[in-house]
Structure formats: C-alpha cells, structure tokens
Symmetry: C2
Subunit: 748 residues, 2 copies
C-alpha cells in the first residue's frame, strides 16, 4: 500500500508544503522585578482579553497567552515576533515575561485568571477537582497545524478507490488521524530537540530529581496529565470522539478543554463535521528567544509533520503502540540533558532521507541542519544550554531581562514587520495590543486589514482609510482650489492667484502683487521644482523669469510670502492629537567645536541613523549643506559661537535631518480650533494641517491679520515624527487613528 506521501508525490502535490497553515499558542507568566510571578491584574494596555484575538490569560492571572492566527509559516513567524514585542512593550515597566516552562518563584497566593466570571468558575472547579495548582502553572507552546485543503481535494480526486469510496470528510479524517498517531509515536524526537525544563523551583514539587533532566514538563511524573482513569483512544476518529464524550459525561473531565493530550483532533465546527486541524501540545518554551520558539524550530515542526505522512499506516493495537511511544517519550524526557539518543538519531536519519528526495528550500535545509546539530551535540539542546547557563532562578531572570530588551530597545521598529513603513509598523503594534485582528494584505503596498468582530477596516500607508473621501484627497493636490475654498470659509490663507499665461499674471503683478514678498510656484501639488521665493519684492523682469520657470510645470501660483514658524497639526476626527514644530537640519554652537565636529557629535545620538530604521536621520555635510552654511558666512571648519544655531539646510523635513519639537501642550487652544476648521473645510477626517504662526501663545483672532496663515492640509499625514520627536513628548497618533476607525472600542 502506498504511503500518503507517495500519493502526494504521484499527484505532483509536494509543492503544497508552504501552504500549510500553522498557528502558535505560547504561554508565559508575567513576573515582577524580583522575579516573582506577578500578582497584578492582566495589564489594561493589552486590551480586553474576553474578545482579544491574540492576548489571553491561561490558568493564572499572570499567565499571558499569545496566540497567532492560522497562517503560512513565514507569516506566523512574523506575527509571533510582532505580538511578542507588542505584548512586552505593553507590560508595566517593572514586569517582564518569565522565559521558562517551569514557573518562577510563586507568590503566597497565585491569582487565578478571571477574564470572565464563567471562565473563572471553570478554573475554580478545576482546582477543586485536581486539588493541585502548581502543575497548571507550567507554560508551554502549542502548535495548531492545518494541511492545505487543496491537498485533500486533489488527493481525493486522484484516489482509485476500491469498492464504495469513503466520504470526503472521512478521507480527510483518516489522513489527520494518521498524522496524530505518528506525532504521538515520534513525540520523543521533539522532546529531545525542544525539551527545556531541566529543573524547577524547589517549591514547585517536593519530589524533584536531584540531577537536571531534559524536560520535567514532558515527563510522566512531573508533567501535567489527566487522571489516570481518563483514556481517550486514537485508534479511530470515532473512538476518540466517543471516549472524549464519555469522559465528560462521566464527570472525569469538566469539558473537552480539559483533555491534556499531546495531540487534539480539532474542528472549527463540531468534530462530527470533520477534523480541520491538529493541535500539537505541550512543547517546552525555548527561553533563549523572546518568542519562546524560533523560526527554525517552527520550520522543522512543519516539515516534521509532512515527514510523518511518509510513515506507513499503523496497524494492530494502535493504542498499545501509542502507550509504548509514551514510555519512550518519558525516557527521553527524564534523561540527563547531555545524553545522546540513538532512537532520535535514527528518526532524524529517516527524515534526512525523506528531505533528500525533494527540492527543499534554504529555510527548510537550515532548520533541519540546526536540529541535526542538537542530535549530534546534545550539549546544544536547550535543556543542556540552560543547565550550563547557571541556576534556575538567575538564568530565568536574566533571560527575562534580555527578552524584554529585545522588544524595547528599538521601540520605533516592530519585529517581523521591519520592512514596512514605520508608521504602519507602529499602527500594527497598537492594533495588535488593543485586540484588533491584523491581516497584512500587501506588505510592499502597506495594505492592512483590521478586524474587530464583524467590523472590518482597510488601512493603507498608515492612515489612508474609509474615513477620508476621494475628492477631498484630490482637493489637496490642487493648491489653488484649496486656497479658494479655505478663503471662502474665512480661513487665513496667503493671498494668491493662479495663472495660465504670463500676460494675465503680469497685469495682476502691476496691481495686486506690487512691492510684496512673493512665492511663485507650480499650482499642481507634489512638484518640488519650479519654485522661486522673493523675500525682497521682485522686479517685473525677475517676476517674468520666475513665472516662466514655474510655468514649465503647468499653471502658476503667485502667492504672498508669509514669514514665521511653521507648525504641523495632526488632526483626527475633529481633534488635534499632536503639534510639531519642525526645524531644518542644524547644529548649535558651543564656542569650541567646529561645525563638522558638531555634526559628528549630533550624529552619535542613537535615535539618528538610516532612513526607515531610525526615527531621526543622520546629518550630512555635502555640497548642499556647505552652500547653506556659506550663506550664513560659515564653513565646515567654523567654530560656532555658544548657543548660536547654524543651519545645514533650509527645508524642515525630518527625512533630511530636521529636528522636531513636540509643542502639543504649548500651542494656544484657539489654533487647535483653527486647524480643526481647516480639516473640516477640506472635508478631511485625518489631516496634517500646516500653519505659520508668529506667536503660538497669543490667542488667534480672525479679524487681526497675520496671526496665522494656513499653508496646506495634507491627507495621509506622516505619523512617525509625532511618535518619536527629536524633543518633547511622544504622541501616539496611531492610536487616534484606531480610535476613529473603531469607535466601539471604548478604552482606546
């Protein structure tokens, strides 16, 4: 009889491996700064766990559970990283996540998790029934795995059934059942590779072995099992379902959720409608990575599952064979961590042969090689490394710190998504934390979907949403029409006109623009070229030259030039969430160092660096900068007087090294109202309003000329510069966007 894998090969379906869907559940306790399990409530910052798609609590209130959504492997890895970072950043400053499977020092009373009254009641029933709290406190990884539906469909099509063909559901069930059986049979391989609970706190269990083992958690004696009377057969799907039902009905189990088996047969509907995925349970946490399991381990697990499809179908007394396998697993678990295992080596060799039959990807190869290394060098297994690292307590606390630093050292990047725009990274982080399901629809296009229950929202580029309309975005692209509408609404704009031809511009020049400081520029937005600025009013000849210069880009806007400091108001849904003053790239003199030295010094700020990796940009001293310095009578070697600001550029963009000052709490309320009115007039919900304000403390008066001048109101305004300003408070404007999109989530 052909193995399942042989059928897959015959039907040319081996290419489907990458379409496997996996989801990770990862538990770990919050600890306080003494390394004791936290007795605080589940952090508010992590959203409402009753509905949260990613963050739950397990048995204890401190036992955070991070759950990824079913996805292809690469995406699961990214999501697990991002979720872990988002969770760690959402913890109180004094807390961290305990990295080990065996719990940290316990407080006097371990608070039981109380996400809802019903779930608290279940847990209290569990305690009453099992009369043990400690075993429930071990933390582990569960992996849900679903084979591609196409695999079943096309295998079923290709089968040459003898006699009455099974139903499609039965056919699929058989394959999943095979996989579950094999998983239990070969569980010892995973216990060898992943086992990472060599020791525990003395108060965990009085019978702890004196010498470290591979995995207390995976062992029969110290692991967490159901009552010995509970027996669920894996000989057939029917037997499994029947036994499970019986155990619940007889009161042996409170519910199917209390079945602590290594594999559960799972369905997204009642199990009678077929198995949809398998839940591989109770793997030890890898404490050396913040995520508890790394990309190679996940890759290996996926390949291992497919490898198991190449095993011959079990025959005979299956449950007896699985009991034997359990004993084998227990043996491996209780070995000293540096012991090698021939059985494991044999299984790995089989898998190597299986892999060699295929064209495998680089990640597949690397993952297998890394696991093979643990087989060849038992001292490289997590359990052995943990023992080598030192005492349980010390190592646990140290790794907890390292893992928290992993998340918090670069708060302006979200692990797993660092190739995306930084604003989108921050939006994803916030969305995940508060409990919005995040689907990245297109990474390079910054296209994501956020879901809360039935409510879905698309977001592109951080804040392009349903809340803003199409024609309002077109309006922004037309400077003159913008001015017209703002002017009509009584908002202060610099007087301007747009011209199709020189003749009419010249006529107005003689009347309206005579002896005025002017800006002459193309009317279409986003054209950086063709702009002339005349602080000293231009002569008719200069006017003509500047006009022709701009005219190459179409219609020409002639505008009165306004002097003053420019502010960016970040408006969402009629509320100003942040105000930034932007200053062109500059250094401030100390009367001692040269400009070049000051630039070098300013560049040492760890917040300055490459674009898309750091919040602030490096300063340069190239041709452009030297020219700007020259206008101030300076060179790179000039020593700038103490307190004197030397500008390197004239534009104030953060992307060219400009400084950003948060002024949200400084600017008078009246200007905020003005910015809101601008956004409203433009028909914008999310808007970046630029205004020139000579004195931000003096209340705005509409009838007093020059108190404020609206420059423009951008759609899709930059958010990152408000999150990580050069100076002043961080303003989490990404949260404001989420709050506007999901008003039903009250606590944002």
């Amino acid at each position: 009889m052909l193995t399942i894998w042989e059928k897959i090969q015959a039907a040319h379906l081996t290419g489907l491996i990458p379409q496997t869907l996996v989801a990770v559940e990862r538990e770990s306790h919050r600890i306080d700064d003494h390394g004791v399990l936290a007795v605080t409530d589940h952090p508010k910052a992590l959203g409402n766990r009753a509905t949260h798609p990613y963050f739950q609590t397990d048995f204890a209130e401190s036992q955070l559970e991070i759950i990824t959504s079913p996805n292809v492997l690469a995406q699961t890895v990214d999501e697990l990283q991002a979720l872990t970072a988002s969770a760690l950043r959402g913890l109180p400053q004094t807390e961290a996540l305990w990295p080990l499977t065996m719990p940290a020092t316990l407080p006097h009373d371990v608070p039981i998790a109380h996400p809802t009254p019903e779930r608290l009641a279940y847990r209290e029933q569990l305690v009453a029934k099992t009369k043990a709290v400690n075993p429930q406190l071990m933390s582990s990884i569960h992996l849900n795995l679903s084979l591609p539906e196409q695999l079943f469909e096309r295998l079923y099509e290709a089968e040459d059934f003898k006699g009455t063909p099974p139903s499609y559901l039965d056919y699929r069930n058989q394959i999943y059942l095979h996989l579950a059986q094999q998983w239990i049979k070969y569980r010892f391989v995973l216990t060898y590779l992943f086992g990472a609970s060599p020791a525990a706190n003395a108060d965990f269990n009085s019978a702890l072995p004196k010498q470290p083992v591979r995995s207390l958690h995976s062992s029969h004696q110290f692991g967490y099992h159901n009552d010995e009377h509970v027996h669920v057969s894996y000989s057939s799907v029917e037997a499994y379902a029947r036994d499970l039902k019986q155990a619940v009905e007889s009161g042996q189990l409170i519910s199917p959720a209390q079945l602590y088996a290594e594999v559960r047969l799972r369905s997204s509907v009642p199990l009678a409608q077929g198995i949809h995925y398998l839940e591989f349970r109770d793997l030890d946490l890898n404490p050396f990575v913040a995520t508890g399991i790394d990309a190679q381990e996940l890759q290996f697990m996926q390949d291992f599952a497919w490898f198991l499809l190449s095993q011959p179908q079990m025959t005979g007394d299956i449950d007896e064979q699985l009991a034997t396998a359990a004993r084998m697993n227990d043996k491996i678990a209780m070995q000293a961590p540096t012991t090698s295992s021939q059985e494991v080596a044999d299984a790995m060799d089989q898998m190597a042969i299986w892999l060699n039959q295929q064209t495998i990807t680089k990640p597949q190869f690397a993952a297998f090689t890394a696991m093979q290394d643990r087989v060849l060098h038992p001292e490289h297994t997590p359990a052995a490394k943990l023992v080598a690292a030192g005492a349980f307590e010390t190592v646990g606390q140290q790794l907890a710190r390292t893992n928290k630093q992993w998340a918090t050292d670069e708060p302006y990047l979200l692990p797993g998504f660092t190739d995306m725009e930084q604003s989108t990274q921050m939006l994803i982080e916030d969305a995940m934390r508060i409990g919005l399901k995040v689907d990245v629809l297109d990474r390079s296009d910054q296209f994501i979907r956020l879901t809360n229950g039935e409510h879905q929202e698309l977001v592109r580029a951080g804040n392009e949403t349903r809340l803003d309309n199409l024609v309002a975005s077109r309006l922004v692209d037309n400077k003159f029409v913008t001015k017209q509408l703002l002017g009509e609404a009584g908002l202060p704009v610099a007087r301007a006109m747009v011209y199709h031809d020189l003749e009419s511009a010249q006529r107005d020049f003689a009347t309206s623009f005579r002896n005025k400081s002017l800006v002459i520029k193309p009317n279409a937005a986003n054209v950086g070229e063709g702009v002339s600025l005349f602080m000293v009013p231009p002569t008719p000849e200069e006017f003509e030259t500047a006009f022709q210069f701009a005219h190459r880009y179409g219609d020409v806007l002639v505008e009165l030039f306004v002097r003053g400091t420019e502010y960016r108001f970040f408006v969402v849904a009629n509320h100003v969430h942040a105000i930034l003053e932007r200053v062109p790239a500059n250094v401030v003199g100390d009367g001692q160092h040269t400009v070049a030295e000051l630039v070098a010094k300013k560049n040492q700020d760890p917040m300055r660096g490459e674009a898309h990796r750091k919040p602030l940009q490096q300063l340069h001293l190239d041709e452009r900068e030297l020219a700007v310095l020259a206008e101030q009578g300076l060179t790179a070697d000039s020593v700038v007087p103490r307190g004197h600001q030397a500008f390197l550029l004239t534009n104030s963009n953060i992307s060219t090294g400009g400084d950003s000052y948060d002024m949200t709490d400084e600017v008078d309320e009246s200007y905020k109202k003005l910015a809101i009115k601008v956004a409203k007039t433009m028909g914008q919900t999310i808007s970046g309003v630029d205004m020139i304000i000579p004195n931000l403390y003096q209340p705005y008066q509409a009838d007093q000329a020059g108190m404020a001048t609206v420059i423009e109101a951008n759609y899709n305004p930059a958010m990152f510069m408000h999150l990580f300003p050069y100076s002043g408070k961080s303003r989490r404007v990404t949260r404001a966007v989420l709050a506007a999109l999901f008003p039903e989530m009250k606590d944002l």
Copy 2:
C-alpha cells in the same frame, strides 16, 4: 477735479478691469412648432424654478429666464452658452425659444407664470393694475455689473479728502451713482448698437409704426414703462431710495421690483447698506446668437461701463439732464434701422480715445471694432439685419430653429466648456438643468463644485466625489488584494496568486497552474505593459520568460485566463444604471467591399471623429491593425464575406475605435445583483464593474463555476460611453451621480 478714471490711473488700478463681475439675465418665450407662444407648463426637465439658480420664468409661463451667476466676463460668456444649450436641450422636442424681443404670435390666452402662489398673485395684481398684458411679454437682456471691491478700497485709501472724509459706503455709492447717471445719459449708444425690435406682430399693438424702426422695445411709445406719475430721481442715492419707497407706499408701484427703469441701484443687502451692483436693463435680444447676446457685445458693455467712469461728474439739475437723455434715446430708437447717427459716432470716438490711452487686450479691441463697424455701417446693426432678413414671423421661426440646432446638433459637447473632459461637460449640463449651481474651480483639473442651497459637493473628473473613500480607491490599484477580498466574499474571481520571486511562482506553477490557460501580468494596476496571455497553457520555459517580463514592473500576478464576453456595469449607490458590451475596433463584411473601404465607410459616421470632440473614435489601418488583420488571414485589400466581423484591434477600448453596445435591459437581473455586491465589497459607491459573462440571459448561480468572472471594479469609471454608445439606448449616468450626491432633490 479729477475724473474717477484719472484717479484709477493714478493709483495704478487700470489692471482691475478684468475683475469686474457681470451677470446676465436673458428672457425669451418658448414657442410651439407653429411658432405660437407655448401654452404648456414650464418644462419639468428644467428643474424646480422656485429654487433654480439659473432657470426662472418671467411674466408669462412660456417666458423662460436664464440667469448667470456673477462672474468675470469670460466665465459669464461660457456659463451663458452652457445654460442656453442646457435649457434648449431640456425643452420638449416640439418647442424652441423665440429669439426676438417682440413676442411671437400669441395664443388665445397667455398663461401667466406660476412658479409659486405668491409670485402668481403678484403678477395677477400687476395685470389688474396696468390693465395690459402685451407689454409684459417683451423679452430682453439685463446685465448686472459689479466693479471690483479692491477698486473702491484702494481708491478710498488713495483719496486725499478735504474736510470730513465720507464713509466708505458713501464713497462707493457715489461712484456707482455716477455710473448709473452716465449709463442713462449714454443709453442711446446701446440702443443704436443693440436695438433689434424693428417690428412686431400686428396683434401686439394697434398703433405700430408702418415702417421698421430700430427698437420698438426701447422707444417711449412702445416700450414698457411705469405709470407717468412714478418719478424716481437719480440725483442722489438718498433721493432714489426715498422716491422708490414713496412710490411703493403710495401704491404707485406694487414693489420695488416693478420699477421699470434703465438702471437700478442694487444691493445684496438693504440699499441703506450700500450699492453692490448696478442692473442695466432692457436691452434687445440679439436674435442671431442662441444666447441672445454674444461675447463681443458683453465685452463692449463692460468696457463701456469703465469708459463712463472717465466722464466728468454731472452737476446742475441732473434729473432734467437725464430726461433730455431719455428723449435722445427715444429718437434713436424710433429711427429707421439703416439711419446713421452723429451723436453715436461722437460717443464712440470718445471711447476710442479712452481705449487708446491703455494697453488693451485682443478681445477688448475686437469687441470695440465690431461695435464701431455697426456705427460706420448702420446696415450691420441687428435691427437692420433683421429687417433685411424678411418678415417678422418667418425670420423669428427660422432663427428659433437655427438656435435650437446650435444646441442640439452636437449633444455630446457643452458650449462654453468644450475644453473640459466630455463626462464633466455632461455632468455640468445636467447639473445646470436640474438647478444645481455649478462653480468650475479648475477647468484643466476637471474640478467643479455643485451647490443646492446649503448643500455643497465637490466633484472631480466627472465622478470622484465624497461618496467614495480613499482606501477603496487604493484597493483598486492593487489587483491581488482586490482578488483576495472579492474571493473571501464569495464572489467569482479568476484564481490567481501574486509572487515576489520566480522560485515561489515556479513551485506553484507545478502544482496550481499546470496545464491551464494563463494571464501573467504586473500586480500594480494601470501598468499596461508586461502582460502575457497564454490561451494554450505555457511550458515551464514560457512561464519563466513571461514571469521575468512582468517582473520588471514589480510583483507578478499569475491568473487563470477566462474566456467570454466582457461587460461593464456602471453602479451608483447599489443600483446598476448601465451595462455596456465593448467590442474591439472592427468592420463587418458585405461580400463586396475591401477592409479599407469598410473602414472608410464606418469612419463616415458623424459620431466618429477626433478624441474629446466626438463620442466615438475614428478607425485606423496602421501597422497594429494590419498585424491583427494578418492573424485573421486578412489584408487591407481583402473582401470580407457578408456578415463576417473582421477585427482591427484586440483591445475593446472605445478610445481606440471600439464599438459599444448598451445591454442594460438585456442582462439578467442576477448579474446586476452580482455587480452591486462587487461594488459593495470593494467599498465603492460609484463603480465600474467589469465581468466576463458567457451567457447574459442565464441567471447567475454562485455554485456553478464559470457563470461569471469578476475582472475588476474601477473607481472613477468612464461615463461618456454610456451616454453615447455606438448602439442602443443612451444612459444618462451623469444624472445618477447627481441623484446620489443630492438625494434631497427628489425629482432627479
């Protein structure tokens, strides 16, 4: 004492002339196809005149009044043309507009206009009071003129007042009053130039002169005046206001609206708060243009008003002098049309001198020259030309037909706006007709504003509006994400995947896309390049080549190719308004003519022509077309069998000569529901959904594969092709857009 003009010159304000605001009111009767004043109600198609900004009725129900909004001259000319065309196109087929000032043949009873009960009551009171209906039936042009506010402001600033300076309001009033006085004084010039009522129907007045005159309408005897006892002084603004008030209070006038003077002093607020504009009244219609007054006449009127500012201020008994002027005007009015006038020539010479002092524009020069020609050649005046053209009745009916043809011959263009996109032209036409105020904010950017009372809407490019949101438009630009979302919603899309690299594409090729017809193309929308189509499934080598070809534009979409006819569904607000089948450029053989001859013949269709001027495009026979013919075994000289369709191109765009068939009433309702669901899933309000449907009569069934395949859903979908299809019913989708934007306008 300096004249006003001299002050304007001294302050360098002569450049302000083009900023004069003018608005035209033009009356004319609807007539039936016998040339009799129509007795039908004001056409429903012209909207609700109670609130209509452009279309009203004057005294009679048949007396349509077209009103432009205050604007600079060039815009007024455009708007007047567009409004006139829009009105003429909105008339019942049997009706036209009587082009002459003196009314056409009267029906037995002339229905009095009844826009509202109040206004009907006023008119009935008027009839009772004046005991005359006929004089009310004359139709004329009124011109509202407002000098630029900047002119008054800057003159006022520049004035060196002796003693107590007047208030700004008084100062402005004085200038307007001067202009009103001078206008009355020189009215005879306009009567000479514009007079166009040489005769009338015999039943109009029993005392009509035997010989034609210049303007019955402008004469004392036959024109329409107030009771002889009504005397309103123009010696001062106060006297004018006082006399007007007295005349109303004494019952001589029903209201100020009954003052039939040549000039009214007008304010947008009570007159006590100052004059805002002058209403120059009762000019004869120019019957030789559909608009009743042409661009040169309007230009001349504007310049004439500014010229009058150069006249010295009147002193002495002003009313007496104005009475003399009125007698002068009467003399000119009652002259034979071919009589020349030394007085008019003298005035025009003065104006010529005034013009010579300035740099004037080409339109100013052309306008003055055209009027000067009427002075030098009295036979070129409208009155003389009318007399020469024939009998009153015949000429009137003939010009009515000509003017209606002007509007209806090219229904796919809107006079005054033919430089804009054709969809926008049609939208403007519809908006004007139903009574939305239209402001063109930027012609080259197709940016308009529509207003109904307090309700404003911006529209760009015909149907980019507030109704569609920003992120939905971004969604359209990403083919793969679009497919993902449509697929998730259970909508039929061709199976596809997007790839960043060749390796993963090749892996899927082996499993998912083996032996299938494929389209391989760049994922980003609007990239026409890089597309490969394989009707015969590609070999792995062909697949790789095609992948690399598309990969130059970024991510690559590999999609199953679907065969069938493509339909465009035009959806607005959950309703399908039009469905079009598009067929690539082609000719149908007759067994006799060559392809080249058939192309030439098809191009003779008057609907085919240059882009942006005609609804359908010319066919070509260039390299591309010859290559496509060659694939069908044809050349330009082939004789195509009777009924056989020879294709010239493979793409079905109307812009490259494709044929469009309206199928709105043919396609099964189920597909309309499907299109609506597509638009909804995409979050689009205004959507162009493209679907392939093999059999449009067979109801769609979701569970039956291949009955429909959604290709894409465009935002800002083309409208023009539905308005003027190659074959089938015209679908006024522009109206659907207006109805969605202005749901409060029930009758759309």
